[in-house]
Symmetry: C2
Subunit: 458 residues, 2 copies
């Protein structure tokens, strides 16, 4: 291995320059463990190319050496997709271009390594905004979000990254460069390869540039936190608001009582509502005149049996209310080991699924605490199992089975990575998986890109 | 060939029943020529399976016999994609199931052979609507529209079929069945094979069922036809309306003076406006209270230099106004041979492209008449060249070059089919095309599905 690394170092340094290569074991550590601390592996080295052509050259060198490559953006993934396993880590951070905004098309092209926050700052200067937002915005990159088809709270209104991506440039596993950055609203000239890369989790190609659709930053935004006595009531409120507010509803997120407790402890916050409520709904309404929508909101919340509401229409008030939802992940992380399960559930089955989740986990591990939060109007629940003696395998089997019974998916927005590779058969047929393998072999014939991820090697 | 047909007939009859097989030469004729009459070819026979499993069996028989298969829905395509070339025609018309509407998810699953009109009727009974609409609705099928990523007038508001498809069932070229019909709003469990099939024009698999996203049928709809002295003015009006009306603008279509003249002659209609206008913009506004939007509309039209406007908010009035746009294709078809070129152009370059189109065609064929219409706010222009002595090759080369010069696409919504196969290199790199070939080979390794279409055989 050492000879390979020495040789690789020489060849890669010739492409990116020695300062953009990391070989020191200690310096490599931040790239070898993910946020959950569940996933860990060793990197041969890390390399940070700064252009699409250099990415192609890096891949070609690695291929010639027969070493695997894993792409890493902000390392905010939760399924082990970006953690190396004796592979070269291709860092996207130098792919950081922020091109000028195309205001006629309402689009912008940015480098894959640009963080969500940097992209937001860039476009908000022009009164525009990105249609996707999520709590990890300071570290998560546009490339990583595209590769995982990230969702976040605004997906109920604008869709996931799949809807936000108007084009991309990518180096496929075999070194071919596919560049589709014209951002045309309609373009059916052959297969939509750019779209195929969305959600492919770095296993088909390395995304180097992304062209994003932008939205007009809403004139007014209002956030309300509403308490409910049951998830049934909270879900009814969320879906009715979706129907009645239409495009004015930007988010309808959920946190259970255990999640709120963890956030309050960690951030030392007062209760979000005057009345203790077991189930919290966080909604965001946007438009030219949000006040005119308040009657519909309060009517709907009342009809669903709301126990208390808190509303904010100024920036700091909105952020304060969102904290009860956005800080859950971080607060859970501070607790120690956790099993994270990102589930997509048909809308009608959400309350039943949540109740059965508690029962199923109690059977596997009676000492565990379950925290559920997520994007209610999308059917997207993040199940978190905290336990002093966590058995990942048994928990994930139990939850995977439950999801499949309800015709849900084992991944809504976190992806498959390594974590859920073996659960894929619960929601995809053998034919389906065989077809995915064929696509993988077509675009990455050597199989050196993101190997072991999404699809188990045969 | 005859022995093959006799043998195929026997084997296919065993699958679908003899009445669902067409072998008679005269009976085959409707399936051998398309709407434009430019594309024509012979069918070995036509077969109409009624289930996904039967489609898989039909493909398997054809594969064993080594004969090519072309899928045909309503035969309303314009690029020769569904016309046979000594192939078996797989008719989707018996894939006609209309499943009950899932009102919680606002989705419905229908058979690929269901016409757009039948699907619209089905969902409108529940106060819902499809997010895609087009003039060929009585014949165009949901399967065909999905396979070609059809757009239509509403795409400015709801996107193309790519955005409307929530899932599908498909038999891949190699007989594998991929079924993704759960309609989850978020589902990132492996590659999005369903989405890859959208726009693949029947070359990767046979779409058998499609799950569609539905919209709430708007309470009120208003149509306005506005006249302008130049395309520059009309385009400015369309884009400003898009920005100012946001989700309330459902359509912003365009017809030039030549197009209006053809419609008026064919349908014996009065002029659409009191003042003769060279450039017609047809807009549709929808919402709960469209009257409140009228000031914005008239302000914007005035600022863009409108010459005359006609407005209708009742069903028959709206249809009457839409006729000036929707009957253009049919009126052109009645003129005889025509070269149809569906172009996607960056929004800022539309007027220039249109002007240069007239010049380029005049150089190639001074006797030709050019008719331009399309979806202005999407950058989607349908260029039609009518001439007594049409040279398709020279016209398409000229228009293809022009599109490429403006960083547009040679297909916005009609697809590549046979018509534009040789123009693909104008807008896709060699690497890109090679990657498409690899995907094709992965999912249809025998290469018997829709061969010669989209990608020229090597």
């Amino acid at each position: 291995v050492n000879t390979i690394i020495v040789e690789l170092t020489k060849e890669l340094a010739a492409i990116v320059g020695r300062p953009n290569l990391i070989v020191d074991r200690e310096a490599l550590m931040p790239f070898e463990t993910d946020y959950t601390r569940r996933w860990h592996g060793e990197a041969l080295l890390a390399v940070a190319p700064s252009s699409t052509d250099d990415v192609a050259r890096v891949l070609s060198v690695c291929q010639a050496a027969g070493v695997g490559v894993v792409v890493q953006g902000g390392n905010t993934g939760l399924v082990g997709g970006a953690v190396p396993a004796d592979e070269v880590v291709l860092l996207t951070r130098r792919l950081d271009v922020l091109e000028p905004i195309d205001s006629l098309a309402s689009q912008v092209t940015v480098g894959a390594g640009v963080t969500l926050e940097a992209a937001q700052r860039h476009v908000r200067a022009d009164g525009l905004d990105l249609p996707v937002d999520l709590a990890a915005r300071s570290a998560a990159t546009i490339g990583g979000m595209t590769a995982t088809n990230a969702g976040g709270a605004l997906a109920v209104r604008y869709g996931t990254m799949a809807a936000a991506v108007a084009g991309m440039e990518v180096v496929l596993g075999d070194g071919k460069i596919v560049s589709r950055l014209s951002g045309l609203l309609k373009d059916t000239a052959g297969y939509d390869l750019a779209r195929l890369l969305v959600g492919s989790e770095g296993t088909l190609g390395v995304i180097t540039r992304v062209r994003l659709r932008l939205i007009r930053h809403p004139t007014q935004r209002l956030v309300a936190v509403a308490g409910f006595g049951s998830l049934v009531d909270a879900a009814r409120a969320a879906l009715t608001l979706r129907d009645r507010l239409g495009p004015s509803l930007e988010a309808a997120d959920y946190v259970d009582a255990a999640g709120v407790r963890l956030v309050r402890d960690r951030r030392r916050l007062p209760p979000p509502l005057a009345v203790e409520s077991g189930h919290l709904l966080v909604i965001q309404v946007a438009g030219e005149d949000v006040e005119s929508l308040l009657p519909v909101v309060s009517e709907t919340l009342d009809a669903a049996g709301v126990t208390a509401v808190s509303v904010a229409d100024d920036t700091s008030g909105r952020e304060r209310l969102w904290t009860y939802r956005e800080a859950v992940n971080e607060s859970i992380g501070a607790q120690g080991l956790v099993h994270k399960f990102d589930a997509s559930i048909p809308l009608g089955a959400i309350p039943e699924f949540a109740a059965e989740t508690h029962e199923a986990v109690a059977l596997v591990d009676p000492a565990a605490t379950v925290v559920i939060y997520g994007h209610l109007a999308d059917g997207n629940l993040h199940v978190n199992v905290l336990s002093p003696d966590l058995d990942h395998y048994r928990v994930e089997q139990a939850l995977g089975q439950l999801v499949a019974q309800h015709n849900g998916s084992i991944s809504a927005e976190h992806g498959i990575g390594i974590a859920k590779r073996d659960l894929l058969t619960l929601v995809r047929s053998d034919d389906d998986i065989a077809a995915m393998r064929a696509v993988k072999a077509a675009l990455d014939p050597e199989g050196l890109l993101g190997r072991h991820r999404v699809l188990r090697e045969e």
